[in-house]
């Protein structure tokens, strides 16, 4: 019966097998081992070819999906970059602040006080009483520039231009020793060594050693005055030569922290001389006795002048 069945399918059993109506083991009984293996491989090959020739559309959809998913990941990356950008801007802002907010250094002396300041390049500044210098420490190396209000003696190390700015004008030097006194409308520059260039009211004056430049109340003069090696105030004595008395009075006030009432006297009298910084009585005597001006100390630290 079985044989008959197989015989009747003799011309179709491969078709039956391929369709799944005949099992592999059933096929194996019908044909040789070699044929059986060959047909197994044939079927597998045909299946593989079917799959290989099938549409790749599904795969493309999967690829697009994966790419789309990746894009959201890229967005996350952009977020990271964005936050990095914020951080960078903050750092940049701080950087700009540190550039533009200057490291201003201010040195100030009080009544009767002198102060020696060493600058970064080795230059030295001696500040007289009631004086202020201001400079930027950050760019001192590139630009030696300071602002002075009051009186100071400079010993400048050689190097780039060293500029002293005052309300009355600026003093430029390369390396030298000089004294600058700029108080209110009194401006006096004395050169002790080297060469000093003074710019005042857009006029340039070159001072050689022992030369001095003076501007009082807008009128300037250049004269050869000093024989000294350094200003006397450094040794505790203020020296004046042909200076209206009112500037001497201001110097006294700054030195001793006193108030001098000069209403009753002519404060444009010319004074030459000096006063010591240590003793107010001697100072008052040396200045005012010579000019035959009487003074009395009504209250503490308040002195009235009269003839």
């Amino acid at each position: 019966m079985e044989n008959q069945n197989l015989h009747s399918n003799e011309e179709t059993f491969l078709a039956q097998w391929l369709e799944g109506n005949l099992t592999d083991t059933e096929l194996k009984k019908c044909i040789s081992e070699a044929d059986y293996n060959a047909y197994l491989k044939l079927r597998k090959g045909l299946d593989a070819l079917d799959q290989l020739n099938a549409s790749t559309e599904d795969t493309f959809n999967k690829i697009q999906q994966k790419i789309a998913n990746k894009k959201t990941r890229i967005r996350k990356l952009y977020f990271v970059r964005w936050s990095i950008g914020v951080a960078a801007s903050i750092i940049l802002l701080f950087g700009l602040f540190s550039i533009f907010t200057t490291d201003l250094i201010i040195h100030k002396t009080n009544f009767g006080e002198t102060k020696t300041i060493s600058l970064l390049d080795g230059s030295e500044v001696i500040l007289n009483s009631k004086s202020t210098i201001t400079f930027n420490e950050a760019d001192w190396k590139e630009d030696r520039q300071l602002t002075l209000d009051g009186e100071a003696y400079f010993k400048v190390e050689k190097g780039s231009a060293f500029t002293v700015n005052t309300n009355n004008g600026s003093v430029v030097v390369l390396g030298t020793q000089f004294n600058v006194n700029s108080k209110d409308d009194f401006f006096n520059v004395v050169c002790y060594e080297g060469k000093v260039s003074v710019n005042s009211n857009s006029l340039d004056y070159i001072l050689l050693p022992t030369n001095s430049f003076r501007k009082i109340n807008g009128s300037s003069s250049e004269s050869s005055t000093t024989q000294l090696l350094q200003p006397t105030w450094i040794d505790g004595e203020s020296t004046f030569k042909s200076v209206p008395i009112k500037y001497v009075i201001t110097a006294l006030e700054d030195q001793y922290n006193i108030k001098i009432d000069s209403e009753l006297i002519d404060d444009s009298i010319i004074f030459s001389g000096s006063f010591p910084h240590k003793n107010l009585n001697i100072a008052l005597i040396t200045v005012f006795d010579a000019l035959k001006i009487r003074y009395n100390q009504k209250e503490k630290r308040k002195i009235k002048l009269r003839y």
Partner: protein
């Protein structure tokens, strides 16, 4: 071709490249992996990588680019499999990834099989393609061709016998 047409980053161009090469790449990968699922996976990876690098790849060189990517990814997969197998060895895990009756489908075999199908006698090929490509049952084919089911089965059977002869011993 102007430059716009050459931009792989444009999705239309990208899809055109895919449609032109996907089947060949899949087949190329199948020859190497003997595994249709792996071939599909790597095919996806290849085109995702092409998309990622769409700015860097020259349109004229895209074919050789995707083939070398496919090959490299296949080699990476092999390397990975070796690591997995070594791990299995050292951990004394019996790995039976491949059945003992594993049948290797060589590139030459498949090409021969395809060309044999193409050269089948007309009547046999007609039935064979309706069955294999259009996935029609013998009954449906019989109805469409207005012949008996037995006749369809005979033609199918003959087709297989011819192929068996053409392919020779394997």
């Amino acid at each position: 071709m102007d430059k716009d047409n050459r931009n792989i980053c444009e999705s239309k161009i990208f899809e055109a490249i895919y449609n032109a090469h996907a089947k060949d790449i899949r087949r190329f990968l199948f020859y190497k992996t003997q595994d249709l699922y792996k071939a599909e996976d790597i095919l996806q990876e290849v085109f995702i990588k092409l998309w990622d690098n769409c700015n860097k790849v020259d349109y004229d060189k895209v074919k050789s680019y995707i083939y070398s990517i496919a090959n490299n990814m296949f080699l990476n997969e092999v390397k990975h499999q070796k690591v997995v197998q070594n791990y299995g060895k050292y951990n004394k895990i019996e790995s039976t990834n491949e059945s003992p009756e594993f049948i290797m489908l060589e590139k030459e075999f498949l090409e021969k099989l395809e060309s044999t199908v193409a050269t089948l006698p007309e009547k046999q090929r007609e039935v064979f393609l309706m069955n294999r490509i259009e996935k029609k049952k013998y009954k449906e084919i019989a109805l469409l061709l207005d012949i008996s089911v037995k006749a369809v089965e005979k033609r199918m059977h003959q087709a297989l016998v011819v192929m068996r002869k053409e392919i020779g011993n394997v």
